[in-house]
């Protein structure tokens, strides 16, 4: 269950949550900051031959080797030229990195602006997204770190 839905269910009035916005091409996504361990700036992950396609490669992170997931690949976008930013996320299976084009800012959102996934979304995206927040000028699509875990993705595929 995602953080967003928990917040939504708990308090109808207006529970506030902090969300980090990330950009992928022209779309903005949100990740609950409670799941983010660290943000690594411009990096070029080391590709792993024969790995599942959604694996974006390996990066060196605090003395360990971190597996990254390419969000672009998950959403069927062409790979980006040059470097990408990495969100180090924590999930039940351990840490992993999420490759995004750019990291925006931390936004405070209210649960009263939350909407669950629309029914017309395709099945794949339904499992990756966790609803959206209606901001003034745009929609902020929430990502669920648990469902982006490479281990979970390998079971799904």
């Amino acid at each position: 269950m995602s953080t967003a839905t928990i917040l939504h269910g708990k308090d109808q009035a207006s529970a506030m949550a902090e969300v980090c916005s990330v950009r992928l091409a022209e779309t903005w996504f949100g990740v609950p900051i409670t799941h983010i361990l660290e943000i690594i700036g411009a990096t070029r992950p080391q590709p792993v031959p024969l790995a599942p396609e959604y694996v974006g490669g390996l990066v060196h992170y605090r003395g360990d080797v971190l597996t990254t997931v390419s969000l672009r690949h998950l959403l069927d976008m062409p790979p980006k030229e040059g470097t990408q930013a990495i969100l180090v996320l924590e999930s039940e299976g351990g840490c992993f990195g999420l490759l995004v084009d750019a990291v925006g800012e931390v936004l405070t959102v209210s649960s009263s602006d939350y909407e669950p996934n629309p029914s017309i979304l395709d099945q794949r995206r339904k499992t990756l997204f966790a609803g959206a927040y209606k901001l003034k000028e745009k929609l902020l699509v929430m990502l669920d770190p648990e469902r982006l875990d490479p281990l979970r993705l390998s079971q799904a595929s």
Binding site: P47, V48, P49, L50, A51, L58, V65, P150, S154
Partner: protein
């Protein structure tokens, strides 16, 4: 009389760790400290970050002459720190082996067995956490050997064996694993009884059991609830035995193998990965990436320049082969294996290097695009999604902060063998080689030492290292080299170091090449200026006689002196040194 007289090797003080004579036994407690492993893990990670930062500092300050000295110091201190933190986690297996004599003695007494314990490879080092994890499985295996393996003395005598059974514990390195073997010369496992018991306990259906071969039947003993003991004793028979051994070892990424011959004995082999251990590896390049190849599996390297590639690499129905000294060696192109889908440059467009590998008895050549330096690497585990690819045994961070995947030579052989059916050929080639080994001419490494040519028997050569002259240290006036943590005498009869030093005055730091050779059970280094070639030597006969001349051979049509490895003086031993100290002390008082 003690039935389990521990072997001398088990009781001997550890010879590889000379203790200063002055240190009294009582002070040992004060010189050691208990440290939380979590703290060590954290230190290890921090050192990793420090190494990265150091590399960036080195790059940023390269242009500034004032900073060079400082950053060099930073470089050295960091390298030293990293090495020591890693060492802090390693412990010799003697930590758990040393508990065995007592277990064996107590058990054999209560079971009425006569057992001699032999221990080998106690210095083999393993990461602390792994050592902890194999303690219980190992104890279990030893108890099993005593209870089920070695027979009571009367039965042994009746079978014509020595009434005293032998239990052997052996630890060794093999590729990227540490192997721990528990073997006994007891009755072996009776596979028919294993089948009976497994059916009786309802672990397997009777009709299925009859189809199983001997090897598969042996695997049944790893099933939970299995026991062949007639009665439940203190020692065993409760059916919680081998399955626990296996689960515990597999939990740390290891493997358990069992080998048993009726009447001859049983060997249980634990393969423990070196998750955190440091292994020497050769860094190779392929598909524009660096990969680490464990040196344990590497036997030699062959360079094929682009213009020779089309002739040197031969094909049989799509299977590439290389003639290595007259024998066909199956080849595996790393780039084609890793990226089967994409287009590859043909071999004659660029340099090719063949790394000749020996993995689990399979001999093959791995073709890569380039070679970099050998490095001591720290194995980092891969995440579960990448582990299932099967070709990598881990990843590592290289000195230049790049990441490299560690190749698993055994898995590559299996993978490539499936598609090219070359594995059988490889096994055949390896067997052939053994047969003809004796008949073939002796091979030599042709070297040049300060202008003169000399030959080193190739069979004795372990490694060739290019090192800066500053790494050579001296004991008295004898040059020595700190090689993988051990001191090794360096023979410099040709005056190579002097020549290198005077030559280097003009262009920076002096380098020499050290050929590391095996001589008996020690390593010696031979200082040379260049390595020229490998060639088969011809015997020389003195004119008019059929007497072979010693010390020289005919290499490439020229008479060449053979370096006498046995003639390299050993370093002064511990006793000698302490004797000298004593004499000094006496003289002073």
């Amino acid at each position: 009389m003690s039935p389990a007289a521990p072997s001398p090797s088990a009781t001997e003080p550890d010879a590889s760790r000379p203790r200063p004579q002055t240190a009294a036994a009582g002070s040992a407690a004060e010189s050691t400290l208990r440290v939380d492993v979590v703290l060590l893990n954290r230190m290890m990670n921090l050192v990793g970050e420090l190494v990265l930062t150091r590399n960036q500092v080195l790059q940023a300050t390269a242009a500034d002459p004032n900073m060079t000295l400082l950053s060099r110091r930073l470089d050295m201190v960091t390298a030293d720190l990293r090495e020591n933190v890693m060492k802090a986690r390693m412990q010799p297996v003697s930590n758990i082996f040393s508990k065995m004599p007592r277990i064996v003695r107590d058990l054999s007494q209560s079971l009425g067995r006569r057992v001699r314990l032999q221990v080998e490879g106690q210095d083999t080092e393993l990461d602390k956490s792994l050592l902890e994890a194999i303690k219980d499985p190992l104890t279990h295996a030893v108890r099993n050997s005593l209870d089920h393996g070695i027979e009571p003395p009367e039965i042994r005598q009746a079978a014509g064996k020595d009434p005293e059974g032998i239990l052997k514990l052996r630890a060794s390195h093999e590729g990227s694993h540490v192997i721990i073997e528990v073997s006994d010369d007891g009755a072996g496992i009776n596979v028919d009884r294993v089948r009976e018991k497994a059916i009786e306990r309802g672990l397997i259906a009777a009709d299925r059991a009859s189809q199983l071969g001997e090897r598969e039947l042996l695997q049944l003993i790893f099933l939970p609830g299995f026991s062949t003991a007639a009665a439940v004793t203190n020692v065993s028979g409760r059916g919680v035995g081998m399955d626990v051994v296996r689960t515990n070892v597999e939990k740390i990424g290891g493997k358990v193998e069992i080998d048993s011959r009726p009447g001859k004995g049983t060997t249980l082999r634990l393969r423990i990965p070196l998750t955190l251990a440091i292994i020497p590896a050769l860094i190779v390049r392929s598909v524009d990436q660096s990969f680490a190849l464990p040196q344990g599996a590497l036997s030699e390297l062959v360079h094929i320049p682009p213009e020779q590639a089309s002739r040197a690499i031969e094909w049989i129905e799509g299977a590439p082969l290389y003639r290595l000294r007259g024998k066909l060696l199956p080849l595996v192109f790393l780039d084609r294996l890793l990226m089967p889908a994409s287009q590859h440059k043909s071999a004659n467009e660029h340099d090719n290097f063949i790394a000749v590998l020996d993995a689990d008895g399979r001999r093959y050549g791995l073709v890569v695009d380039g070679l970099a330096d050998p490095e001591e690497i720290v194995v980092k585990p891969l995440s579960a999604v990448l582990k299932v690819i099967g070709l990598y045994s881990g990843a590592t961070v290289l000195g230049n902060a790049d990441l490299a995947l560690i190749l698993d030579p055994g898995a590559i052989a299996v993978r490539a063998g499936v598609t090219m059916s070359a594995s059988r050929e490889a096994a055949g080639a390896a067997a052939d080689e053994e047969d003809t080994g004796a008949a073939k001419a002796m091979e030599y490494l042709l070297v040049e030492a300060a202008g003169r040519r000399a030959a080193v028997p190739l069979a004795d050569v372990l490694r060739i290292e290019q090192i800066p002259l500053s790494r050579i240290e001296y004991i008295g006036d004898r040059p020595v080299l700190n090689f993988e943590g051990q001191l090794m005498p360096v023979e410099d009869s040709g005056g190579v170091m002097e020549a290198a030093e005077s030559a280097a005055r003009s262009d920076g730091e002096a380098h020499i090449v050290v050929v590391v050779c095996r001589e008996g059970n020690r390593h010696v280094g031979i200082a040379v200026s260049h390595v020229l070639d490998v060639a088969a030597g011809g015997d020389l006969f003195e004119a008019g006689t059929s007497q072979r001349t010693g010390g020289v051979t005919l290499l490439k049509e020229r008479v060449t002196g053979v370096v006498n490895l046995a003639g390299v003086q050993p370093l002064p031993s511990d006793e000698q040194v302490s004797e000298e100290w004593n004499q000094l002390a006496e003289a002073r008082s």
